[in-house]
Each structure stands twice: as C-alpha cells, then as structure tokens.
Symmetry: D2
Subunit: 253 residues, 4 copies
C-alpha cells in the first residue's frame, strides 16, 4: 500500500506505454520512472497485490496495468477518500436526486503536516487537486459547475485537516440557495482503518483469482481505477454486492 507523499507527474512518456518499454527504462535509469512506479513494479514482480492510497501516478500507467494483468495481480487505487471528497460524494447525490442544480462548489483545505508541506510545491499540488476535482461532474450529470479546490499548508493545523466548502444550488423558479460545510478531521486516523481493510480485500480478491483493477473497491478512492462511479452509496452497494456474491460462492457467510 503506497501512502507516501504526493509525487509530481509530468505526463505520459513512451517509457510508460508498455511493460517492455518500462523495463528498458529501468535498465537505463529513466527519470520518467518515479519512486512510486518502482515500488509498484516491485510489488507486481513479486506477485503481491498493490494499492495506491495517494494521488501519485504509479500503477495507473499502461505499462504497469499491462504488467498487473500479465502477472495476475490485483491492483487498487487511487487516493484514499477520507474527508472532503468523502462528504462531497455523499452530498452531491442528494442534490442530484432532489433535482437541485449545483451552480458552484468552492472547496478549501488546510493541513499543517509534512503532507501539506509537500503540497505547497505547485508541481505536487497539481496531482492532488486534479484528483479532488474529478468526483463532481460524474455524479451530477453535468459539468457547468464553478468547481474549485484549494489546498493550503497552514502550520497551526498540525496533523489535523480542516476543510471548508461553499455549495451554491438553484431550486424551483431559479431560487438561489447555499450550504456550507466545515470539517475538522484527523487524516491519519481516518485513513488507517481503510488501509487495513484494503490490505485484506485485495488479498481476498487475489486468492479468488482476480487480476487487475479491483473496481469493487471504488468506495475507498477519490479516483477509482477503471470506473466512473463516484457516488459513495452506489460504490458501497457495489462492495456489498461483491461481498455477498463472493461469500455465496465460497459457501460461507
């Protein structure tokens, strides 16, 4: 399970396109291969299931997706959904189901630990913000929303994480309304049990003979691999149905 700080990513290079090219790149220390990709490669080579709990680009390049398939290894990711994106994917379905048109969603985040410090570098920040921006449009079904996500390193917050959201929405007859959310969370505390569950669930999937992206684990991630399902309740239902089905096949409970 990758839980290192967010790495920058300069875009897909030829090295990332196939496992052949990737291994050539390895041989000549190609700088396009990040530390995160190396760890992912090592896991796959050892046939150990791999989870990317960060927004870094690691296993989610064509070369390693191909390698995971070849090796018959389960992979999952990416970017653990622990705070703002969690409640965003919970509230957005409410607006969608009640036909309340979301016109804007401004999100800011304050964090004061080393993860936050790394994100004060714009190259690292970009990966994180991209991951956080993705969830809204697929749930709402439209993308003309003024959706903004900000992340700030703010020393007094320490290991805790604070988020603030303003949501503007429009009701019948064009009536304007709004909602604000203020979240005071402990990121590591929220992440730890998810990491434990993920470790068990990818192991379980591997035992069952699955390979490649474990889409049944989308509820755990901000940017789930190989699925556009972001609605937290649909994601959770998918996981429940997967568990039911798996336990029936196993003749157990």
């Amino acid at each position: 399970v990758n839980i290192a700080s967010t790495e920058p990513f300069a875009g897909l290079m030829p090295t990332h396109q196939s496992i052949g090219q990737f291994e050539e790149g390895l041989a000549k220390d190609d700088p396009a291969i990040s530390a995160g990709m190396l760890y992912a490669y090592a896991a796959l080579a050892a046939k150990v299931p791999y989870v990317n709990f960060t927004p870094s680009t690691t296993v989610d390049i064509p070369a390693l997706m191909e390698f995971a398939d070849v090796q018959g290894v389960v992979i999952a990711g990416k970017d653990g959904k622990t705070g703002q994106t969690l409640y965003k994917t919970v509230l957005a379905p409410m607006f969608q189901l009640r036909n309340l048109r979301v016109s804007g969603w401004y999100s800011t985040n304050l964090l004061g630990n080393d993860d936050g410090y790394v994100l004060s570098d714009p190259a690292h920040l970009q990966q994180k913000v991209a991951s956080k921006l993705e969830a809204l449009a697929p749930i709402l079904g439209y993308d003309d929303v003024d959706h903004q996500v900000d992340i700030h390193y703010y020393a007094p917050r320490g290991d805790a994480k604070e988020a603030w959201d303003v949501i503007d929405f429009v009701g019948w007859l064009g009536a304007k309304m709004s909602m604000r959310v203020n979240w005071l969370g402990q990121d590591s505390i929220l992440a730890a049990p998810l990491v434990v569950d993920l470790a068990r669930l990818v192991w379980f999937a591997q035992q069952r003979g699955e390979r490649g992206p474990a889409t049944q684990l989308s509820a755990f991630f901000k940017t789930p691999l190989n699925t556009r399902e972001h609605n937290f309740f649909e994601q959770t239902r998918n996981l429940m149905m997967y568990c039911d089905s798996a336990s029936r096949r196993n003749g157990g409970d």
Copy 2:
C-alpha cells in the same frame, strides 16, 4: 395535501381509536378532533388520496388509518423532508458506513415567517421537534447520541430558513473529530416540487388499486408512515424500484 402550520397534539384519546368513535366525536364536536384531522377525514370520505406534508397528527391516528383502509384510499406522510433532516439522513449513512461513531449532533434552525412564528409556541414546537429527532438512531443503529434539535423564530430570516449543525464523531483509537453544516434554504421553494410530485404519485398509486400508507414515498418525509427506513439513499432506491416495477407491470416505461 396538508401544508398548514403545525398543530399541537395532546396525545391519543378514545375518540382517535376507531372510525366509529371518531364519527361519534364528530357528531358532538369533540375538541380532540383537530382541524387537520377533519380535512383528512373529508378527503378519505370523498375517496381522494391524502398527503400530510406537516408534522401535525392528522391521518396517523388509528381511526383514520382504519378509515383509509376501509375506503381504499392511499395516504402518505408525514412532514416534508426539505432541509436539515434531508441532509441529516444523507450524512448519517456516511458515518455509519465508515464506522465513525457519532457521539453528538446538535441542530438549530432559524426561520422568520408565520410557520416559524407558530413554532415559537411550545405546544406547536413539540410536534415539530419530535419529528426532527426521529431520523438519526434508526440510521446509525444506536441511540446513545447527544442529539438535540432547536427551532427559533428569528424575524430577520424572513421566508428563508437557516440551519446549523455540529456533528461530533469518534474514529479509530478514540480520536475525536467534528463537522459543521450551515444551510441557507428557501423552504417553500424546496417544498413545492415535492408537493407536486406527491400529488402525482399518490394519484398514480390510487389508480393502481393501492390503499393505506404509501411506504414507497418515504424519501419525501421526516417521519414516514409505517416504515423505519430513514436513510435517504435507501428510501430513494425503494421509490426507484417501485417505479420500475410499476412501469413493467403497466407494460410502459
């Protein structure tokens, strides 16, 4: 559809117990029969579907439940879920699914119109608060939550409605975290489309030969009749499944 201001309720009386006793009470102008009950009785007598969009006790007394069944009339209620309880029944499932223990939920409401003014009378207020307190425990699965709901008539808010919530929750290793929500809604604007949908849906149900409490409409209400399902996403799924099934039987879409 009853959208009058909240009425006080002094508890179940003999008059409320059966349709026979209720009609005796009618004959002698029993004060235990409220205006809201009278309207509900009239609708049922005319075999017109009846919806209670308020927290008042009207059709939900044994006498009128029995009468709805006898008359073959569809009824629904009660208390439209338009603001604070809507997002409460959206957020509470998130805490439950992530195994975050809710230790307290303080909710306050400010409203400045006549509905708010009526609620500044404690007898009226009690009905409303009871309705708002009900949703949490069935979703969370435990009731040792310091759950408080306040409603205040606050003149400057006018027709709008403001709500503020503090949610305290506990994560792994007992770590304390919290979330705050501030809602600025337009109650009538939020209620109107629901009232229109309800009018269509009870009519549709009546045409299909249903009678009594329409539990498929629980997503619309703070205190749905004859069901303990408060999770907004489960409620919505029930409605979707009902619609699918009804449309299949009708051979339509």
Copy 3:
C-alpha cells in the same frame, strides 16, 4: 473571587434591601440568602476585596453594596467576559461606527462540563442568559434588535466551549447582509488569567483607598457593576487611563 456555578435568583426580597435586614435574615437562616451572598458577606466582613466572576446575584444587592461601602471594601463584577460576549462587545462597536444597522443577533452556546450541566436547569439558565443579553443595546444605541441567546449542555464538548452567532445587518438602501462567527474556546483557560489580574487589581484599588464597585474593571465583565459601558475598547481605554493616572499619582510607571 467567586467562580462557583451559576445560582438561581428569585428576585429582590426585603432581606436583600439593607445590611440591617440582611443580618436579621442571617440570624434566622433566611433561604433568600444564597451561598454566594454568604461568601460575599464574609469577604466584606473581613475587609477583603470581593470579585464576582459569575452571573449569580451575590454582592449586587442593596444590602451588600451598602455593606461594601460601610466597610470600605472594593468590589467588582459580574460574570467574566471570556468568549461570546467578549467578541460581541468587540464586533457591535464596528457595526455602530460604520452605521450598519443590526436587525438580529442569534447566539447559541454549547458546553459539556459541570457548569453547562447546571445551566441545563432553567432556573440557573435564566441568570446566565440575562447576563448575556445585556451588552448589545447599550453599544448599538437602539434595542429593536432580534437578540437571542441560547445555552445548551452538550456532553461531547467536554471542558471546551463552542459558540455560534448569526448577525444580520442592513446597509445603504436597505441592503441585507450577514456575518457568522464560530468560536471554539477553552473557558477555564480564558478565565484563569483574568481572575489573576482581577485579584491584583482589586487589591491595588483597595490599597489606594477606593471602596465599592470598581468601574475601571468593566472590561473584565459581561455585566459590569454601576456602569453601562459595554464597548470593549472603551472599557479597555478606561482601564488604561485609570492605570496611567494611578501610576502618575504613585510617582511610578
């Protein structure tokens, strides 16, 4: 310095009117004499300066005001200004100086310790709320404000204290605007240095030969004795001027 929990008060009785009647009451254990009054009386009898840091009615009855004067003892109070009322008396002058008309100010408080528990009894609560309601009108210069103050015992808050305020104000051409404040304080931590300063300042005043209510200490209290000055900056200026003047007379700095 009285820092006990808030006591209820049933109104002025004959026993409270003069020191003579008070001492008669003492002799016959008159229940109109509260524990707080007894402590205040004992301090005055011993010629020790007395500070009431609570909203209880203690030294602020005619009998004990008279006794303080007779004994030549400095008294101060009442109700330490540590949180919501502190910032209220800081923000209200801003609105007044900018000619922004305050139309409503809703304040709610959550506290989870024994002080909060005592206040969940309405008789105790009334004293506290009265003390908190007093500050606004004298600063604004008008009293047609929908000013509401709520206090709730909310167990998850523990020793901390949370406050939330909504302030509605009206600008040029009747434009409606609003401000919200959310305060997360530690009441004892905020009170302790004030208690220490007060102990020194009443002792200093006593040494200088002052007697009766120390109006120069109004900045410390929600309901300062014998003055209607609630603006925190005017109060602080009064204290500064008092200190300057006292130090000049003492030939010191």
Copy 4:
C-alpha cells in the same frame, strides 16, 4: 475618487521618482505610467483632492506625493476597508488586548463580479493580496503569524462578496483555541457611503488648508498612507479627535 478595478504594478521605476521625471515620462508616453496615475496627476494638476479607494499604486509614488505637496492638494488612500479587513482590524485588537497569541489567520474571499474577474489575473491579484496582508502585524505587535489571504473569482456569488476566516490563537499554558468568521457582504453597498464621506472629508480638509496625505482618514483604508495605525478603534478615535479639534477651531459643531 478612484474606484476602478485593481491595476497591476511592476515596481517603482525612475519615472515614478520625482514630478520632473514623471512629466518627462508623460511626454513620451512611458508605459510605467498607469491609467490610475494619469487620473491622479490630472486631479492634482487641477488642485482637486484625490482619494484612492483601490489597492492600485497611483498617487502613492514619490513623484505624485511630491506633486500633491507642491500643489497644496489633500490626498487619501488606499483601498477601502469594507469587509474582511474591516473585521480583521476589529478582532485583532481583541486578541492583542487579552494577550491571546495569534498563531495563524487564514482568510479566503469569493467574489463573482468584474472586480473579482480582474483579480483572477495573478498580476492584478498580487496588489490586492499585498494590501490585505498588511494590517495584522502592526496591530498584534509581532509577525510570526501564519497569515494567508486568498481571493477567488467565483461566479455564483455575483455582486455579493463572501469571506471566511480561520483564526488560531493560544492562551494560558499553551492551550490552543480557534475562531471562524463567515461574512456575506455587498461590497458596493458597503463602499458607497464611505466614498461619499471621503469626498466630503477631503474637501473639508482642503478648505482648512491641509495638504498631502490625510492620515486622519486611516479608518477608511486597508493601507492608510503615511501611518502604521491599523487598529480600527484607534483609527476611528483619531478621526473623532480630528473632527472635534477642527470644529472647535471653526467655532462650530
């Protein structure tokens, strides 16, 4: 009175250093002379008092300060204090006077009109943020505060302006506390009466024979010219004392 949108500023150039160099620059259309400077120059040339209500660099360059003095014209500025900075300079003195150490102050702003749109260009934004960052340290008396100011163009907010602040402060024994403020203002409505008052007050000062920066008007500005006084109550007191003194000299009231 300059109320145009914020202009970018590339730093002081030789052209800005003296009125002689400035007029040479004028003759050859030097691009270092902004539109705002041109208007200011025109006002001074016509001996009309000039107010800069924006954060743009206009009259506050050595050349035009000199010119104002030569021409005997009153000038005032800069950047009207209407919202977030207003309450910041009201709350900061409270923390300072109560000896509560401010460790961080995060401020974000959302505005959706053309002023906001102009600020979405980083060159323009820089001037505005610099102006907003200035007020805190001079009031608190120390500058090791994690003070951050953000401004965002957020279309759904329209002509209104929203601000949100988190203030972290430390009390006795290092206890950590915090305060949050959410402001929903109408910028133009808040600015208009200040503009009218400023027009009158600079005219009045000009009539009295004053010239150059009117420091008595510091209460109106985020970055008052020629003074480090940012505390709103001290600023207001200075204005009151100025008015008293002026009216005494005029023998009027």
